[in-house]
Amino acid sequence: MLTVYLVEDDPLLARHVLEALDSAEGIRCVGHADRLSKARAELPACQPDVLLSDLGLPDGDGTELIRELNRNGHDWHPHILVYSVFGDESRVIHAIESGADGYFLKGGPDRELIAAVERVAHGESPISPAIARYLLKRLPQALDAAGERQSGGGPHLTTAEHAVLKLVAQGYVTEEVGERLTMTAHAVATHIRSVYAKIQLRPRPIAAGLMN
């Protein structure tokens, strides 16, 4: 059973999401908070698999919570999906740098939301063309095919990662990227996850779920 914790201050939307998740097979909502303080208090006890969190909350920014979770020394760590209104890219990217695994746009069909939660629980990282574009600008491409790091520089993109991001930025979805680069959708997801890890302030080990 996949456990989810929701942080969302809009009661109407929160009720709708909770209903949708609970109606899905294999997913159970273990909690809901409408403010950061409540989430901080409940999360250690709930230890959910996935944290679905809004960013703009009455007592602060969801990014703070994400960063705290990323920093703490607990032996558990949720997969984090940012739940946001038309993907305010700069905030989302900030959240990803702080440790989020991806984001989902509010207003999407319930089925898509459930699929996104499942995918993120499996260690995949949802991505959008805008984020791919940002990552392409942010990370230089490694000159050698293998090099993750070049001498004297920060993290670099491998050739495959670069190719994946480029296609995503051009509007191709994961399956199409896999077809074009002759790799599985799973491999595409791995590449994206590894790119995320490169920009995160304290990279975590690549999610165990992906290895299973």
Partner: protein, 616 residues
């Protein structure tokens, strides 16, 4: 008579001292001779003997006999030296002819400009009663005569001869070449600058150069008298040219000055012509005196100008004029009153002073124009800077205005979009909500409501995207668009096949134009979801030269398996949607073809990249 003046005496003193030290007997200068003329008794005359004074009308030969004392011939190389003998002469020593420069030849040559030295062969020297006979042939008006005569050792006479040669021959040639150079130089400057003063200076210099050497012609042939006439005539022109130059330098070369100068030249020319006709040396003396007075008058005039306008240039010119006049007085007294046939004119060397003035003037001119140019350059630079600053300010003001106008246009566009797009859709959603309850409950109505609200979000999103300062390529914007549409398409069971060319994706477009394209795509996709009953929709984007082609094609027709028929699009979103797509295509300066296709329904947009800058 000696070469006059104390300096010369000192020089001679030194030469003599040197001669004594070297044990050469001192040469003897003869200041008297016995003149023997045909048809007249022999008589003693003083040397130098200028015929212009003693016999202006004499035409022919006169012999000067000099008895030489024994001590004059003591040296091992006895010789004879004279400053001037003219026009032609013969020398006989003890009856033997030693030299003949062309006596008796017609037309008569003229060697008077050249100092003469001649060895007296020791073999011809007698123990006593040695006799030197100099036969001189001259013509009226050609400055014939005989200078004092020196006899002594060659070694003692050579320095005298050399010195005379320097002053009478070499010096003048040097001056003449300098004068010609300066004259040509001034002529070129006059030609290029169109300044009269350089022209006058050029004329003066060239005349001067000619005058210095004109009389050095040994054998002028038939031109001898003409040459002499022109020589005398040119004097007034020379004086006039140089005075005009001086006046031009101080900018007083007025028409009145020219008239006075012309009058002067006219008087001088008439005197010269009078002398040529009448052979009255007095006329030439008066001629030169008049010139002298004229130069003196000019010097006084310049002094007055210098005083009045505190002009250093005028002062220098005045000084030059005074010096010229002083030298002229010396020459006039020596040559025209005393008729010293030994003497050398000093006036010819005065040109050096005028050249110095001219050089000074040129340097002054050059320095002044250089400084003026520098000042002008500085002023120009300052003006340029000021102008640049003005331009910069104007540019800034213009930019601010442009920004304000652009902002206003952007606000207008946003308002229009909000009103037509978002507002319209929200009203549609509200209309759906206001349907009777049983109608709302129908799945089709709910689906419509969901799609309409979804549309609102997409509309809001692309409007916000169009406000971003960072310019996106068409591909980036389309990719974002797909990201928004994909969930709705999937929810409707439609697979979107993304078929875009890299070339077309990288096309930069203005935000307004991008917005139009995105709205057409959104409208096409919404129509597919609402009406096509399709399972696949192909979106293709190509770039063809300067054109972008975009096609949205669905397979709704195949799905329904009823070719040629299509469900009519319900109003309002159907017809209004098509009309708005056409309007947007027009705004892109492109064309759009919307209609059935063998597979389904096709929306094909084609627009030029260049024509989209103004769109939106």
């Amino acid at each position: 008579m000696h070469l006059s003046g104390p300096p010369w005496r000192w020089l001679w003193g030194l030469v003599l001292l040197l001669a004594c030290t070297l044990a050469w007997p001192a040469p003897i200068q003869f200041e008297r001779a016995e003149l023997i003329e045909p048809g007249a008794p022999a008589r003693t005359v003083a040397l130098p003997d200028a015929w212009e004074r003693s016999a202006p009308q004499r035409r022919g030969v006169a012999a000067y006999r000099i008895e030489l004392p024994a001590q004059a011939l003591q040296g091992s190389q006895p010789a004879f030296f004279a400053q001037r003998i003219g026009n032609a002469f013969r020398v006989r020593f003890n009856g033997h002819l030693l030299m003949d420069t062309g006596v008796g030849r017609q037309p008569l040559p003229n060697v008077a400009q050249y100092p003469q030295i001649l060895a007296l062969p020791p073999a011809l020297v007698r123990p006593e009663a040695n006799e030197l006979l100099i036969e001189v042939q001259g013509e009226p008006r050609r400055e014939a005569g005989l200078s004092t005569v020196w006899v002594g050792d060659r070694m003692a006479l050579d320095p005298l001869h050399d010195h005379a040669l320097n002053l009478r021959v070499r010096g003048p040639w040097l001056l003449a070449s300098a004068g010609v150079t300066m004259g040509i130089f001034a002529l070129l400057v006059a030609w290029r600058t169109r300044q009269a003063l350089y022209g006058w200076f050029a004329l003066g210099n060239l005349l001067w150069a000619w005058r210095i050497t004109a009389m050095s012609v040994r054998d002028p042939g038939g031109w001898a008298l003409a040459l002499q006439f022109l020589y005398e005539l040119s004097h007034s022109l020379l004086v006039a040219a140089l005075l005009m130059f001086m006046l031009a330098v101080v900018q007083r070369d007025t028409p009145r000055a020219r008239k006075v100068m012309l009058l002067f030249v006219a008087v001088e020319v008439s005197l010269t012509v009078g002398n040529a006709l009448l052979n009255w040396p007095l006329l030439r003396t008066a001629n030169l005196l008049l010139a002298l007075l004229f130069v003196g008058g000019a010097a006084v005039h310049l002094a007055r100008i210098a005083w009045q306008s505190r002009s250093s240039t005028a002062a220098v010119l005045c000084l030059a004029g005074m010096v010229g006049a002083a030298i002229g007085v010396r020459d006039w007294v020596t040559l025209r009153l005393l008729f010293d046939y030994d003497a050398i004119t000093w006036t010819r060397y005065f040109i050096l002073a005028l050249m110095a003035v001219m050089a000074w003037r040129l340097v002054e001119d050059y320095a002044r124009s250089l400084l003026a140019q520098q000042r002008q350059t500085r002023e120009l630079q300052a003006a340029l800077q000021a102008r640049e600053q003005e331009l910069q300010q104007a540019y800034e003001a213009r930019r601010a205005l442009d920004r304000r106008q652009a902002a206003a246009a952007e606000r207008d566009r946003l308002l229009r979009d909000m009103h037509d797009g978002l507002g319209g859709r929200l009203v549609s959603a509200l209309a759906l909500v206001h349907l009777p309850d049983q109608k709302i409950a129908e799945p089709a109505t709910l689906q419509d409501l969901r799609l309409t609200l979804d549309d609102c979000l997409t509309e809001l999103r692309i409007t916000l995207d169009s406000l971003e300062t960072e310019q996106r390529s068409l591909g980036e914007s389309l990719a974002e668009m797909r990201f928004r549409l994909e969930p709705s398409l999937r929810a409707a069971g439609i697979r979107l096949v993304w078929n875009v060319e890299d070339d077309a994706l990288d096309t930069p477009l203005s935000p307004g134009a991008t917005l139009q394209v995105l709205r057409i795509v959104r409208e096409a996709c919404t129509n597919v979801i609402k009406h096509a009953q399709a399972s696949v929709v192909w979106l293709s984007l190509q770039r063809n030269g300067g054109d972008i082609g975009l096609t949205v094609l669905d397979n709704g027709m195949l799905q329904r398996s009823t070719p040629g028929r299509r469900a009519p699009m319900p109003v309002p979103s159907g017809k209004r949607g098509l009309a708005s797509m056409r309007r947007r295509a027009e705004a892109l300066s492109g064309r759009i073809e919307i209609g059935p296709h063998p597979e389904g329904w096709s929306v094909a947009l084609r627009f030029p990249v260049d024509g989209t800058a103004a769109a939106g």
